[in-house]
């Protein structure tokens, strides 16, 4: 019986709330509880985001406090 492969990361939608130093962003997740994560950009870093922008963030199951912004929403 084959098993479905484990997803190593979870993609969650969120909204940028704050710009942090070192090209980090505070992103509020559109999940219950509206948890927020400190997220970095997945790509080249040329993408500039402003508070209010919708994004999709990858979150590792073992570290819910950090994320990786994969694309705009």
């Amino acid at each position: 019986m084959p098993e479905p492969p484990l997803r190593e990361t979870l993609e969650v939608e969120g909204t940028v709330r704050e710009l942090l130093p070192n090209a980090l962003y505070r992103v509020e997740l559109a999940t219950e509880g509206r948890a927020s994560v400190t997220a970095h950009l997945a790509g080249s870093g040329l993408l500039r985001l402003r508070p209010g922008d919708g994004v999709v963030v990858e979150v590792a199951p073992f570290d819910a406090g950090r994320g990786r912004i994969v694309r705009r929403r």
Binding site: M1, P2, E3, P4, P5, L6
Partner: protein, 249 residues
């Protein structure tokens, strides 16, 4: 584990004979359960993550995880039979796709290629190779014949539980993923489609079908990596037994 695998293969032999036009998949499930229990084993799938049966019966465009039911097999169908059992705490897991009555040339060729792809994967199971080499061998074989391999489901380590580390995909670059060492046991299981590789899971939460609804075949064997190469656990130990190896086998 060799005993568990042997029981699975013997039961699959029974099911292959029983898969004739007019039989329902529920009939096959009953035969499977009775045969496994008669052999002193326990079905491994029944209740596993809520799966409701002993056998996964996947007809034609169904890839894997088909739930047995009232469906009657018809002449020309192909059916994937996937079965697992537990003996003394050890698991065996194997699958094959069989034709019902006379099947057409396209179906026969798909089944033949899938079985060859499985053996291509098994062939690389020796210490020093990596899990990615298995997937690469399977994928290369299937795609060279114009088929595609399913990515949404993967093979797995097997032992005292049904699904163990590592995951064994049927695709991907060689030389990647975990290194194989003697003593590892893997369930290698290519799922090969005539059309595209995409699959959908039906509303029952289990049955996986090809998105384009074209044919799919599935073969699986549980294999141990030994110092001398692969050992298909349902078969006798294939290497000359000498010294230390004999003690471990």
């Amino acid at each position: 584990m060799a005993r568990a695998c042997r029981i699975v293969i013997d039961t699959l032999d029974l099911l292959e004979e029983a898969a004739v036009p007019g039989t329902t998949t529920a009939d096959l499930d009953r035969i499977a359960r009775e045969a496994i229990e008669r052999a002193g084993a326990r079905p491994a799938f029944l209740g596993y993550r809520g799966f409701p049966a002993t056998l996964c019966a996947s007809v034609n465009e169904e890839v894997v995880h088909g739930i047995p039911g009232r469906r009657r097999l018809a002449e020309g169908d192909i059916i994937g039979l996937d079965l697992g059992c537990v003996v003394d705490g050890f698991y065996g897991d194997s699958a094959r796709t069989v034709g019902v009555g006379r099947i057409d040339e396209d179906a026969r060729r798909l089944m033949e290629t899938t079985l060859e792809a499985l053996h291509a994967g098994i062939g690389v199971c020796r210490p020093g190779k990596r899990v990615g080499d298995i997937g690469h061998a399977v994928q290369s074989h299937a795609e060279a014949r114009g088929y595609s391999v399913v990515r949404e489901f993967v093979g797995h380590g097997i032992g005292t539980s049904l699904h163990e580390e590592p995951q064994v995909p049927n695709y991907g670059p060689p030389g990647r993923r975990e290194r194989l060492v003697a003593g590892m046991c893997l369930a290698i299981e290519p799922m090969v489609n005539v059309g595209g590789p995409e699959v959908d899971v039906l509303e029952d939460g289990w049955t996986a079908v090809t998105r384009d609804r074209r044919l799919s075949a599935h073969f699986e064997l549980s294999v141990a990596v030994t110092a001398f190469g692969p050992w298909i656990l349902s078969e006798p130990y294939p290497y000359a037994e000498t010294g230390e190896e004999a003690a471990n086998a």
